[in-house]
């Protein structure tokens, strides 16, 4: 090898090493950033905008700057549930939304707004005097941040930390002040991470509320989510929830149970987030039998074989045990057997977490009726926070997988109604401060101006969640046998009424009679044969 050649080889090698190091250095601070930058086809680089060169002091200051160009953005947002937390269900005429319903997780935002509105796309909703018409109150960044550094903490009414903050208080964990300028200059499309910053944490923590939405979806494997897998299709939430004018389609209040007008992406009034809108209602190209199944069975039933496949989800929450303190009068937390989750927390009561949960299956037609605070309830029965309507014969229902979340929560014994209680606040009535139910209930009910008899007890509740996210690859879908010939003895759809399932629903009378007669015939011919043998032997002896 000539000297010149050797020098060239060394130079090339050194260059490769340097390049590799540089690439690595790039990925270190924000792993997701380079890929997203590369993929961006935006015609605007927000870091070059003079409106965004300011050192913003607060979130609303950023919003003011955004609205200088995006003049209609806040108006659009203000019409959406993301902003109003209110929804009038046209099917049931019930006024729903986080502002109104009482669930069996954290129960109600009323009297607790300052805490809960960490997940509101606004700034400053700390009580019922929040100005929903002030455009500066809209939080653009929580959805459009691409830096991954924007964060809102519970207890600040939707504001991000403007200075380094210990959170939770007394924990020793410091959340750094948000660099609003950097976040503003880095805005872009929504991502799994931005949507997930609230939706993955519903119910007060990772994977608590939804069995099919949690932080494992930020960077999921194919097995967890065949659409969102980074090494696969790499969908964001908005790929399916195709947003138009800031209105994100898809609803837990009025879900589409059976999309009969499918495959019209882009067409107005169609539902872009259903499976059918891409896959059609007959997606199994080489298996007509599966398409026939899809006439009555929701895609999710087979293609989401279990929920909580990324990490455990909360399955029950018993508020009635909240408030136990140790001998020093301090609240306690007890881990469950996994060591990762609380099984008891003085502030909240007892929990149960489960992973890889087999859903329950029900007929569902998309109509959901809620037990509202005003609704009279029967405390001797399990109170259904929501009732999913459906039947095998209404022509609109399909068999859906659901997560059934059970709980125990306080109700007004005098009025037989669910109650609002004051969970969080910097006062001496909040449950999490003084662990006194009476005070917390009095305060909460007074806050919403509702009648309260002064007497409470705990009632069992359940909340049904149609499972629709975390679609598995087709190889991991349910097999025929899991319904028709379950090796574990219990078929997935054994409890679903109104269907004939070969292998599971045989006519019992016919079965008994059929096998009995066959057995008698066999016995008969054996006896007959034995008789012939006996007779011929006897004959031979003669």
């Amino acid at each position: 090898m000539s000297l010149a050649k050797l020098v060239r080889v060394l130079a090339v090698t050194a260059g490769m090493v340097l390049a590799a190091n540089a690439a690595q250095a790039n990925t270190d601070p924000a792993p997701a950033a380079p890929a997203e930058k590369k993929a961006s086809t935006s015609t605007a680089d927000h870091s070059k905008f003079k409106e965004l060169q300011e050192n913003f002091a607060t979130g609303p200051d950023v919003t003011k700057a955004c609205l200088k160009c995006h003049t209609e953005a806040a108006k659009q947002i203000m019409h959406t549930k993301h902003w109003t937390w209110e929804y009038l269900n046209p099917q049931t005429n019930q006024l729903l939304g986080k502002k109104h319903i009482i669930n069996n997780f954290c129960t109600s935002i009323s009297s607790n707004q300052e805490f809960c509105t960490a997940c509101h796309i606004g700034y400053g909703w700390k009580d019922d005097k929040f100005d929903f018409s002030n455009q500066d109150n809209v939080d653009c960044l929580v959805c459009h941040d691409t830096t991954g550094t924007y964060r809102k903490l519970p207890g600040y009414a939707g504001h991000p930390p403007y200075k380094d903050t210990e959170a939770p208080a007394g924990s020793g964990f410091i959340v750094k002040a948000v660099d609003l300028k950097a976040v503003a200059q880095g805005v872009g499309k929504t991502s799994r991470k931005t949507c997930g910053s609230c939706h993955f944490l519903g119910g007060g923590g990772d994977a608590v509320k939804h069995g099919d939405l949690d932080t494992t979806l930020t960077n999921p494997s194919k097995y967890l989510d065949v659409h969102m897998a980074k090494d696969g299709l790499n969908f964001t939430c908005a790929t399916c929830h195709e947003t138009d004018g800031h209105n994100v389609p898809g609803s837990r209040y009025t879900p589409v149970a059976d999309d009969t007008t499918p495959h019209i992406r882009g067409k107005k009034n169609a539902d872009p987030e259903t499976c059918q809108s891409c896959h059609t209602a007959a997606p199994h190209k080489h298996n007509a039998r599966l398409n026939t199944h899809a006439v009555v069975i929701a895609c999710q039933t087979c293609h989401i074989p279990e929920f909580a496949r990324g990490q455990p989800t909360k399955m029950s929450w018993d508020w009635s045990t909240a408030g136990k303190l140790d001998k020093d009068g301090k609240p306690i937390r007890i881990k469950d057997s996994s060591g990762h989750h609380d099984s008891y927390d003085s502030r909240k009561g007892n929990f149960r977490y489960e992973s890889n949960v087999i859903p329950e299956y029900i007929w569902f037609n998309g109509k959901v009726e809620y037990t509202l605070r005003e609704t009279k309830l029967d405390p001797t029965k399990v109170v259904k926070i929501n009732t999913l309507e459906g039947s095998p014969t209404d022509g609109k229902s399909k068999i859906w997988p659901i997560k059934r979340f059970t709980g125990k929560q306080p109700y007004d014994v005098g009025n037989n109604q669910l109650v609002v209680f004051h969970t969080y606040g910097k006062d001496d009535s909040a449950l999490w401060t003084n662990f006194n139910w009476d005070k917390a209930l009095e305060y909460g009910m007074k806050e919403i101006g509702a009648q309260y008899s002064g007497k409470y007890a705990f009632v069992e509740t359940e909340y049904s969640w149609p499972t629709t996210h975390m679609v598995a690859p087709k190889g991991d879908a349910l097999t025929c046998a899991q319904c028709h010939q379950p090796s574990i003895g219990v078929g997935r759809l054994d409890k679903v009424p109104g269907i004939y399932m070969p292998g599971r629903r045989a006519n019992a009378l016919l079965n008994t009679a059929g096998w009995a007669i066959a057995a008698l015939c066999l016995l008969g011919v054996l006896v007959h044969g034995a008789g012939r043998i006996y007779a011929s032997r006897k004959g031979a002896h003669k």
Partner: protein, 199 residues
């Protein structure tokens, strides 16, 4: 020296044994689909059952053609003549070595009870199993063809199962009765070689 008559022609014998094999396999796979036990696994059982069924349909097309072109269909014309004698023979005579009341000839291969039994299979069990089977096979087209207004999978399945139990019972009795020739294996030999030996 005993007489021999050539009772079963080549096609007839091939038809009989392939049909027997198919029916036994259909019973095995069918009752698995029905949920009675697990051998192949549900999906494989369904697919195998369907393939076997179509194979049997093909075989039957040949058999029907053969029966009509050869006139052999007349073998199934029912008669009540000597039915009582046959019944009496199976109930009593067979134990006392009484003479068989029926002598097979090439024109009358089947004894009167056989004729009735086969006719029952042909006109009742067969159609029941075929029609319910086809309804089952074409379940995916019910909506498209408008059949879903008239049919119900539960009833289709129940009648298909009913027919299957009848076939099973027929099979048990049929196999046993093959041993009632002048020697226990005489009828079976005849169905293999075509030649029936007589006393």
């Amino acid at each position: 020296m005993s007489n021999r008559i050539y009772l079963f022609k080549v096609f007839e014998r091939i038809w009989h044994w392939s049909q027997a094999t198919l029916i036994i396999l259909l019973l095995i796979t069918g009752f698995e689909v029905h949920g009675s036990y697990q051998i192949l696994g549900f999906e494989t059982a369904v697919n195998t059952h369907t393939t076997l069924a179509w194979t049997l349909v093909g075989l039957w097309l040949f058999a029907i053609f053969w029966h009509f072109t050869t006139g052999e269909w007349k073998q199934y014309i029912p008669t009540l003549q000597k039915v009582d004698a046959m019944a009496k023979y199976y109930l009593f005579g067979i134990f006392t070595d009484a003479p068989h009341p029926f002598k097979a000839t090439t024109l009358k291969k089947h004894n009167p009870l056989q004729r009735l039994a086969y006719l029952f299979i042909l006109v009742f069990v067969g159609p029941l199993i075929w029609f319910t089977g086809w309804f089952y096979i074409f379940y995916d087209n019910w909506i498209e063809w408008g059949w879903d207004k008239y049919l119900n999978l539960e009833w289709v399945a129940t009648f298909h199962t009913l027919a299957a139990f009848m076939m099973l019972i027929f099979l048990i009795v049929h196999v046993y009765l093959t041993t009632t020739g002048h020697t226990p294996l005489a009828h079976i030999k005849a169905m293999i070689t075509g030649w029936e030996e007589e006393d």
